[in-house]
Symmetry: C2
Amino acid sequence: MKPKLTLKQIARELDVSVSTVSKALRDSAEISEETRQKIKAFAKLYNYKPNNIALSLKNRKTRTIGIVLPEIVHDFFATVIGGVEQVANKHGYNVIICLSNNSFDREVMNMEMLANGSTDGFILSVAKETQQKEDYHHLEEVINQGMPVVMFDRVVDEIVCDKVIIDDSEGAKKAVQHLIDLNCRKIGIITTVDYVSVGKLRTKGYIEALQKNGMQVDEENILKIEDMERSEEEIIDFIKKRELDGIFAVNEQFGASAVRGLKEKGLEVPKDAVVISFSDGELSKRFIPSLSTISQHGAEMGARAAELLIERLERPVEADERFKTEVIETSLIQRESTLRTKLTSV
Amino acid sequence: MKPKLTLKQIARELDVSVSTVSKALRDSAEISEETRQKIKAFAKLYNYKPNNIALSLKNRKTRTIGIVLPEIVHDFFATVIGGVEQVANKHGYNVIICLSNNSFDREVMNMEMLANGSTDGFILSVAKETQQKEDYHHLEEVINQGMPVVMFDRVVDEIVCDKVIIDDSEGAKKAVQHLIDLNCRKIGIITTVDYVSVGKLRTKGYIEALQKNGMQVDEENILKIEDMERSEEEIIDFIKKRELDGIFAVNEQFGASAVRGLKEKGLEVPKDAVVISFSDGELSKRFIPSLSTISQHGAEMGARAAELLIERLERPVEADERFKTEVIETSLIQRESTLRTKLTSV
DNA sequence: TTGTACGCGTTATCAT
DNA sequence: ATGATAACGCGTACAA
């Protein structure tokens, strides 16, 4: 077992000073060609790699990005991570991931932990509980310390920082309009409780789409899920009670359960009723019928968030203090769950 | 914007020496009650937190675990991360995640990056390409440097280190036996190419289960998928060509596609044919019919891997050099895709 | 009871 | 052309 090689060891071995070694390895013109070659050869032979921690301490930069997420068993967040990772690596950054599990306390803990020198900045989507409590002191604190933060998806309007979002309300409108165009008359929505920002926005889009088409908004057709664990039963129950010919679900899990509810009710999808959902993941693609979705382009959001963060990190000074909110275009991906001609229904 | 507080600043502010501050904050008895209180009050007021990087450099420990994964848009790996995260946090460790995207080069790069001071040890599942090339020098190197490594799921037999696996072959047998118990006579398997260790083992279990029951192994009933992207078409094609009454898929995506193939062929699941798969994720649960699975208990694997790693990190000396291979029990979760009485078939 | 000195690994600056 | 020194932030052995 050979512990990692340090400059000091090389210096001792080659009988030169530490600074000579450092300079030689960085190709400083100060060092004679001869010694430089000797040192570089030695370093290469024994596979010397500078210690990141020491560099971080010296440079006061870690070249590490912290991602804080509510959950990870969720294709959307997983693809976001992929996007961040890719951009980060391209720029020589590492990625630290922490999960809040939708708990406020864990979010605070994680951010404090990472803020103490582990990361140069944050990319985060806030926990459900945080949005509920509306307590954002930990975010303010981190920003106050001069660490850039980029929020995505579940963002907090009150916090001033870069943001990457999709137009949730617009995406929802697209989805509902799609259902209306298929001649749906009684459209239900399966969404989350209102304190989840994106849930609220999608509900808003749903309502606006109905109104724009001169349709009644019936509160009874709106199901707000609080607990993911028990969502399936709740959804099936809801579907069975209501007489709906079109369902808009705010995520693919809800969409899948909606289809199940419809089937149990004896309705065929897409013939008797159609279903569309947000977040285009593995489930939507492999499901039978495959689910039409509003894609959030998670990888793209992650990539964009990483770019924004790195840009800010590498900006020479804090010259530009304007913060951007980037809106990623959603797209409607039609699959089997809404695949029918207009005439089929009515 | 107030930059982070350091010991030095507190010392200057309170007109004492840095070490006095350090000791006071660590409740050293050397410091008088009075100054200790004064310093602690000040630190608390301005929310002093020691800098992790400096601590890492000093202690030559980062209290960070590096996870290297082939992919993340995959419930199995996502749940593993969850398990690691939980245990790590409990012990005050951070988690850095790097994705290899199944590329050998990226795996090597990531590990080198993390090994240069960013982590104390690794938890990893090797990339497909790495298993194909059978080039493990990067693993050996890291281990040689004295960094503990715990491999899980896709492990490498040639590398000596702690491992957390499931008995893939045994799990596959369980699955196939389940199909046989349902009176299936022509059982097919949808698996991965052989160089993926777990795929190979599951194929082995499939074959052994058939043989144990005195059934013929027909190579034509074995489909080996190379490219995940094109898997769905390949699977449907395979199913249509063969006359199978039971399908064992090595992951839930393949399982879902198998059901689709059967349906397109005009067969009903589970009435005319049954399907069971490995890896119990969101897809299996929400799918229609919900998929019977062999659960790999990802969270448990992750948790166990983290425990093994932390144990080794915190062991006083390198006294115990024996390495463990922990086998997590798989369990068969029966759902709709195999829900029928023995008599239904034949 | 408090302060000084040193070291973790690196680099930048300033001698020699 | 090379080396010594200081500094990044912290903790600790030792000195006062």
